[in-house]
Symmetry: C2
Subunit: 209 residues, 2 copies
């Protein structure tokens, strides 16, 4: 039986990465494949490095969009679809929602909406998440958390609060009409983690959504 495809999304400092580290210790690696975007294949990880690097010549939002979709294409073909076909469940740190929220809405390029839809549909070729968990947090709180964490900041972390507020708006817009659960990520860490795990297991066992 085909596995389930579950995505975790969230703004900066929502605790997505630490929740994923915890889930890796909680869920069986015989049943679950953990992966991330951009990345998840050697070529896609190389594209990731180009995207998040700090260089003199900042990437145009359209360039970013094309690079994210290029990495996604490899990820879908080489990692996600083969794993699902083997009956494994795939948990991905980010997927299409992030491209829409960051490169279209937060980058203030609404003219790219249809363009994104068309490219993403071709790239994913029917491979859509069965469910997405959205770790939602007020960007003011998220950024403060991230700054306090000692994690290295990437090119997106360093954007201003208005940018991160637009990311949040974009995420909510993207999820409208799709199968997702928003989780209040300002709650204590363990509550959030247990909630995520509960949802994942219910999706896998077909009791949700």
């Amino acid at each position: 039986m085909r596995g389930k495809f579950i995505v975790l999304e969230g703004g900066e400092g929502a605790g997505k990465s630490s929740a994923l580290s915890w889930l890796r210790t909680e869920l069986s690696h015989d049943e679950f494949v953990f992966t991330r975007e951009p990345g998840g294949t050697p070529n896609a990880e190389e594209i990731r490095n180009t995207i998040i690097a700090h260089r003199e010549d900042d990437l145009d939002p359209l360039t970013q969009l094309l690079l994210f979709e290029a990495a996604r294409r490899e990820h879908v073909l080489r990692t996600i679809m083969p794993s699902l076909a083997l009956g494994k469940h795939v948990i991905s740190d980010r997927f299409s929602a992030a491209t829409y929220a960051y490169q279209v809405i937060a980058a203030e390029r609404p003219e790219l909406k249809e363009f994104f839809d068309l490219i993403d549909a071709n790239v994913c070729d029917g491979c859509a998440p069965d469910h997405t968990l959205f770790l939602d947090i007020d960007p003011e709180i998220g950024i403060r958390r991230k700054e306090g964490s000692g994690d290295r900041l990437n090119v997106f972390d360093e954007k201003d609060i208005a940018f991160h507020n637009r990311v949040r708006v974009g995420m909510n817009e993207y999820f409208k009409g799709r199968s997702y659960t928003a989780i209040d990520a300002s709650q204590d860490q363990q509550t959030v983690r247990e909630h995520i795990k509960r949802i994942i297991l219910s999706v896998v066992h077909g009791t949700q959504p």
Copy 2:
């Protein structure tokens, strides 16, 4: 006055690179900017490395298309358009025609035609070559030349003759209705070079096409 944008295209072994090396010594660097695709900016050169690298996981043609267009976006924004605006003439080793010929036609993905048109139009945003020089050669002759040259072969050089024949068909299809000159690249090297130089100067002086 805005400079002219001139592109050189050609199949493997058509002598494009050596003709460009010669042109660099013939044409004034005050007037002409020499650049290449994929490449022409630090980010685009990094994307180039991802595209031409030999890895275990071959890139899907759609991934290649997206990467070429991502590199082109940076090239157009950071190098080509600013140079033209300064009144410099830009000579590029390859541009959009190659993406169409290699990733759509030679890769046998005709369903990507409209997709390519839309992405390329958004990426170039009106920045089209004033003229293209197409160094045309029978792939049988071109590949034999290239193999004899001692040049390192890349991932595209190693494709079979049928692939290179399709590239040639794709190039001819792309140029239909556009401003270009096909040059018989099986002629002796100096004849071809002088022909290229003559056309470039006539485009720059507005006497051609």
